[in-house]
Symmetry: C2
Subunit: 132 residues, 2 copies
């Protein structure tokens, strides 16, 4: 694996943590780091979901060890991946008070189903890396 | 982490590997296993993309060590996560001839940008597991 495991970010934050672009980490990092893959199926209606989702993305960004955030939703089904310096940083984010409240409301209101996979990233590459 | 890392699938394949539902692995598996997180930004126009994407999902499912597949695209930005028994199974899938051709065409035609994160899943849980 060559160096560019993570790309150099553009103007500060411009492509960072946004739905709609491939992650460019604000703090360039080399594996290993932690990815939290959150897949979910939404219930009907917004019920405050959009506001919460935007708030959680902003709040995550303020946490120690935060590296990046990517999200896509297609109809009811969505995938959000957050990246963290290590498992401890990801675990600390899970315990942040406002996030814990959101998780609770997610279970009761926003999600018909969800699954979390906590994973250790061992390799990362993009188109600027050697093909294959 | 309690047992239910992965949920019991419903009627064979019914909720499996589908865009639009949370993964229920066909073969129940406990971590560790491998997740390949593929994030991408599409170019304009279809140019055969939809047919290829469906074909790759079907082809992946036939590979040894395949566990599951989830995908969501929101506008140009998409996240696909495939799950494999181990890194060797994920690496073998990358080398499958038809998939290699698709990757090449992805680089030249379908994707404006992409990033691959190969990760080892260490924990997995859902709503039926104890909160927190």
């Amino acid at each position: 694996m060559s160096t560019p495991g993570l790309r150099t970010p553009g103007p500060t934050g411009s492509r960072f943590g946004q739905t709609g672009s491939v992650t460019a980490f604000e703090t360039p990092s080399e594996p290993p780091y932690t990815a939290v893959i959150f897949t979910s199926t939404r219930t009907d209606g917004d019920q405050g979901y959009a506001v919460m989702a935007a708030r959680m993305q902003a709040l995550a960004r303020e946490q120690p060890g935060y590296l990046g955030y990517e999200s896509a939703r297609e109809g009811r089904f969505g995938i959000t991946v957050s990246y963290w310096a290590d498992d401890a940083a990801a675990a600390a984010w899970k315990q942040v008070h406002e996030h814990a409240i959101a998780q609770d409301r997610g279970r009761t209101t926003w999600y018909a189903d969800y699954r979390v996979h906590v994973a250790t990233v061992t390799r990362a590459y993009g188109p600027s890396d050697a093909p294959r």
